[in-house]
Symmetry: C2
Subunit: 387 residues, 2 copies
């Protein structure tokens, strides 16, 4: 086990009707908030009205910035920063899924900074302060509600880049699984893939003696594997929705990173994919992760056997345990397919035309991944396997 | 799943040599600390000298209060509070195990309070403030390093009572498993029982649809079950010590309570036992927990079958699943015995002489436990089973 520092101070307020507490929570921090949201589904669901009512009852002045897109854009982040500067706003409230939260995080860290916020994403500067940030989560997927990371796409070159600092963790996250029951099957499915990928990026490590976190990872994966089909079948299954929503937070708040080093090579490759083709992050992961596994499993067959046995309850083939490893990878791919997701680029009508460009951009700062270091050639091979 | 609020903001600094960071951590809070510790093992291990050096290098003025006993006493808590008042101390640093940390928590919450600190323990008053508190943990067991609870014994009547408030959570906890390698087998064993009990108190619930936390509980229990024999065999096994130490924190920081209601009846009964006979908490639990299980398992056989199957990898007896439930309880008791711990009161030379008194005190505020509500008669029956 490796030395580690872990602190996730985000206050989780979980369950039915918790959104009505938003005014009371916000007023612990500010009387002037930027309400940040997406395309408007929160208006259709009635959540928007509830939030406005609760904030008004708490005498909080509301400024709005809606319209965040999936794969949130740098231009809107800059717009939010300007709005905060112009109006003296000192609290950001993100209502939505991971894109909205990530955009809010970038605004929160950009407001107290003199330079351009993209500096942080290209490692030109390190943030030392951020505005406090609150979240009302509607889509379980990215874990951004309690994570330290944010991913933003710069339209100038379609660079999708991430930052990770403890000061980006939201002060609180209100999580009512009822708001996820209206998610269409497709979004439910890509959310599940995203959650599982966050766990698997941590699970596949070369650090030894990480038993507790291994088992916590397996617990989280099994929970998502069992509950996702339940909500695909019955979208209004509150309890299954709740399991998935809470699993999404645990998957990415870094508890599962304690004492170990994750890989995140697949995430890096996927960012190039969704940066260029604007596919949903979870779809990209459903394509890239199995390909990555097939490419690298031989570097640590035993870990893949453990994955197959403990996560998918497979029996070990004691004569050729490599078969068990492969069967585990297969099971994962089958699971993604059972959610009606593509697991190959061809299903997304993506050809090898820009493989070279993606592999170059992905590795321009050096190899990616820790479980296996991936150079440009490796990324090309993985994209080829994903074709 | 039930609605819940969860926030554990304690910063965990885990691993080798982390104690040398103490000065830097403390100075984020104060320049004047009360250094609180136990009987002096920290002096023998060299930890005391390291702490003093690091604090001095950070220009921190040190006041000392050593000599905390197992089952920490109210009189010393009052002494600590006076010392803080007299010297304007505004930070408590606990160096030791659960007793030291609990004593420090009681001091931290007593200093800013006008009345007597015992008021909180008899629910006469509710704390609204506490001094910040830092921890250097040497004994994995109580989970107090990140928990919201503290247990103190009032020598006037030998009442052992607990409080639980988020404001009691330490600001940070430095955890170096190396300091646990010198623990004698007995203390290692009672620590493991304490950790497992914290998980099991949460595991046995009547709240349904708590799959993720069930699985996280099972993950934590399995880790302790596998690693405790390793350290009993080789006390210097750093990695196994590290697994146990981190498991001890996870077991009691309330992550495993999210969405569910724990039982804690066994803990309440044990507090009467150790309050009167001053046995180690873990020893008392090794005696009470199996007796409690045998007394109540019929109220929810399936949950005990799940425990047997998922924690002890037992096969279900499909013709009589109750047998599987009993086999699981048996396995737990055997495990405690394998650690050379007593599992019956007779082994502690405790007779039924004061059963009546313990059962009365335990239930004087009403029945205890949630999985099964226990009245005085039930407590007497459990003590009888434990005889």
């Amino acid at each position: 086990m490796q030395n580690f520092v872990f602190q996730c101070a985000t206050k989780i307020i979980f369950g039915r009707n918790t959104e009505n507490q938003i005014g009371n929570e916000v007023k612990n921090y500010s009387r002037k908030v930027l309400l940040h949201y997406g395309a408007g589904s929160i208006k259709r669901s009635g959540l928007y009205d509830k939030v406005i009512k609760s904030l008004q009852e708490a005498d909080i002045e509301i400024f709005e910035l809606g319209g965040v897109l999936a794969n949130p854009r740098l231009s809107m982040v800059r717009e939010g920063i300007s709005q905060c500067h112009e109006n003296g706003i000192d609290f950001i409230l993100a209502v939505g899924g991971g894109s909205v939260i990530d955009s809010a995080k970038a605004i929160a860290v950009g407001v107290p900074y003199d330079g351009d916020v993209w500096d942080f994403f290209i490692r030109k500067s390190t943030p030392v302060r951020a505005l406090p940030l609150g979240v009302i989560l509607t889509i379980p997927a990215t874990g951004s509600e309690a994570s330290k990371s944010a991913v933003i796409t710069n339209e100038d070159g379609w660079y999708k880049r991430s930052i990770g600092y403890d000061l980006l963790r939201p002060a609180f996250a209100i999580m009512n699984p009822e708001f996820s029951v209206t998610l269409p099957p497709y979004q439910t499915a890509v959310g599940a893939v995203d959650i599982m990928s966050h766990v698997m990026e941590r699970y596949f490590t070369n650090v030894t003696n990480v038993e507790l976190t291994d088992r916590l990872c397996e617990a989280t994966l099994k929970t998502v594997l069992r509950n996702t089909p339940l909500v695909m079948q019955d979208p209004e299954d509150y309890n299954a929705r709740a399991e998935i929503m809470w699993a999404g937070t645990i998957a990415h708040n870094d508890l599962l990173s304690t004492g170990r080093i994750g890989d995140f090579g697949s995430h890096k490759i996927e960012h190039e994919l969704s940066g260029i083709y604007d596919v949903a992050h979870g779809v990209g992961l459903a394509v890239i992760f199995p390909a990555w596994m097939k490419y690298i499993y031989k570097n640590n067959v035993d870990r893949f056997v453990q994955f197959a046995v403990r996560v998918f309850d497979l029996e070990i083939d004691f004569e050729a345990s490599e078969n068990t490893a492969l069967e585990g990878i297969n099971k994962l791919e089958e699971f993604f397919k059972s959610l009606d997701l593509p697991t190959h680029l061809s299903e997304l009508h993506i050809t090898d035309e820009r493989f070279e460009e993606m592999a170059s951009k992905c590795t321009e700062k050096g190899p990616v991944g820790f479980f296996t270091k991936l150079y440009k050639e490796d990324v090309l091979n993985i994209l080829e396997l994903a074709r």
